[in-house]
């Protein structure tokens, strides 16, 4: 057997960390280009016995929206979605995210795809989980070049939503809304607190003792690698093939 089947991969550690954050919720939506959060949402649903509803954009089987592209956004504004996922070409210590580009806008020297729904959903969905596998000073920066969506707002602004956590290839940060900064919550197996400090371009709160990211239980991991992996393959065939050797079925 390949090591894939015995060792827990970095992607699976991230999926496990995100899955824990979704337990007990009613409805989780997942945007496009989000295979790790998508896998976590489908796993959390399987663990919940189906009480968690998942709306996976880009999927035909795991998406019940029938009112076109706008429905996700209308649904979010009404408070019908508990959690969502955003990433960024850059993410800074105040949880601002940049999905537009590097350098001086509009003539960016590196252009990213664009803000998608972030500028809106970040304000309206209570538990927005940021994810970015690459954890380097290049991606986690002191200040983003362009704010696609702002991490924090003045107290008087209408904002039921906002950042909850940032999950990377090295660790889990939780966002401290009062102090408007991230707090290191756990490091993935084999990663030291000092490794995270070196790899992070922004300042954050670090407790003296930081636990290891809680891994998935054996039966949860088995569920992820079988039933859930096949569901993931419908929307993310390349990811499912690379991570679990599973083809769409």
């Amino acid at each position: 057997m390949s090591s894939r089947n015995t060792d827990v991969s970095r992607a699976e550690i991230m999926i496990g960390a995100i899955t824990r954050m979704l337990q007990g919720l009613r409805h989780v939506a997942v945007g496009n280009s989000s295979p790790i959060p998508g896998s976590a949402a489908l796993l959390a649903r399987a663990i919940s016995g189906g009480s968690l509803r998942v709306s996976l954009l880009g999927s035909r089987k795991h998406n019940s929206f029938t009112d076109g592209g706008r429905e996700l956004f209308d649904c979010a504004a009404q408070g019908r979605i508990d959690a969502f996922f955003l990433s960024g070409g850059q993410i800074d210590g105040a949880a601002n995210i940049n999905l537009v580009g590097l350098g001086d806008y509009p003539e960016t020297k590196v252009r990213f795809p664009g803000s998608f729904g972030s500028a809106y959903l970040y304000h309206l969905i209570p538990r927005v989980i940021l994810f970015r596998e690459e954890h380097t000073p290049r991606t986690l920066v002191p200040k983003v070049d362009f704010i696609s969506a702002a991490g924090v707002s003045p107290k008087n602004e209408y904002r039921p939503g906002g950042p909850y956590a940032l999950v990377t290839g090295l660790c889990v940060f939780l966002f401290d809304k009062e102090r408007r900064r991230f707090r290191l919550q756990s490091t993935h197996p084999g990663v030291k607190s000092a490794n995270v400090r070196e790899a992070t371009g922004f300042d954050y709160i670090a407790p003296t003792t930081v636990p290891i990211t809680e891994p998935l239980k054996t039966d949860e991991l088995a569920l992820l690698r079988s039933e859930v992996a096949r569901q993931v393959a419908e929307t993310y065939p390349a990811f499912a093939a690379k991570t679990w050797g599973v083809v769409n079925g």
Partner: protein
């Protein structure tokens, strides 16, 4: 069959998109009139303002690469797993096109305002985003129904000159069935002119069948239809044929340079036989 539908040829269809028009197009996963876009490029269309509903993909990059586009409004420009659209990126870097960066629900809301015939639509969120700094047409007011301290963003109506998309079928009356892809309905409601390519015309009335009617755009909103089997290749049409990954990947690779794009266009769009 008797047909009340306004069915015309593909060249004639794209002739209804004047140079300088604002043109609304769906994202790659919805219903893209790829063959019509090729015909538009062959015609040498110029100065289009593209509106991605809410994002732009292969069609947008083809049009930009072919020099048909002056400006773009979209929440994102992406080729999905094939990366950032290369001709779009080059045009931005060289300052050849103007980009009006948006966010998905802002595009939907602008079209909804047009659909209702009203000048603007309010929307939550967006405050604090740099998008707002670069969109002087987006305004912030105090919620007139609030307690005096509730900022909210207003977005102007987006009424495209033309909406262009591809669908599975039209019926003999010119009603177009789009199923669950209701952003196409929104586009048709909002645009002044709606041009559609379809896989086929069926000799029946979709509106006579409740199950079909719910996913049908009435002919009232449709200006003209062309029958173009496989008209959404290579991005695909959900439930009918999949995306052609090899062809999409070949485009993403070729279009990394202007010369590569030209060779690709000569081959795929102009079907020139190479010497």
């Amino acid at each position: 069959m008797h047909t009340g539908a306004n069915v015309i040829g593909l060249e004639e269809l794209v002739a209804r998109i004047p140079d300088g028009a604002s043109l609304a197009i769906p994202p790659d996963y919805s219903g893209c009139a790829m063959e019509a876009v090729k015909a538009l490029i062959r015609r040498g269309c110029r100065n289009l303002h593209l509106i991605g509903v809410p994002s732009g993909g292969f069609q947008a990059d083809w049009l930009i690469g072919a020099g048909c586009v002056t400006s773009v409004e979209a929440a994102a420009m992406t080729l999905g797993e094939f990366g950032t659209p290369p001709r779009f990126s080059a045009a931005i870097r060289e300052g050849r096109i103007a980009m009006k960066d948006a966010t998905c629900p802002a595009i939907h809301a602008g079209l909804q305002a047009a659909e209702k015939g009203i000048p603007f639509m309010p929307l939550r969120g967006i405050l604090g985003s740099d998008l707002l700094k670069h969109r002087p047409d987006w305004k912030v007011i105090d919620n007139p129904y609030g307690d005096g301290d509730d900022a909210i963003v207003l977005l102007p109506a987006i009424q495209p000159d033309v909406a262009l998309f591809h669908a599975r079928a039209a019926d003999r009356e010119g009603n177009v069935w789009i199923g669950v892809r209701r952003e196409l309905m929104l586009m048709a409601h909002a645009a002044r002119t709606t041009l559609v390519t379809v896989e086929r015309i069926e000799d029946r009335d979709f509106l006579a069948d409740d199950a079909m009617a719910a996913g049908t755009i009435p002919a009232l909103y449709i200006s003209a239809i062309s029958v173009v089997p496989n008209g959404a290749r290579p991005v695909g049409l959900a439930g009918v044929y999949p995306a052609d990954a090899a062809e999409l990947s070949a485009y993403a690779e070729a279009a990394k340079t202007a010369e590569g794009f030209q060779r690709w266009a000569d081959d795929v769009i102009f079907a020139k036989v190479s010497a």
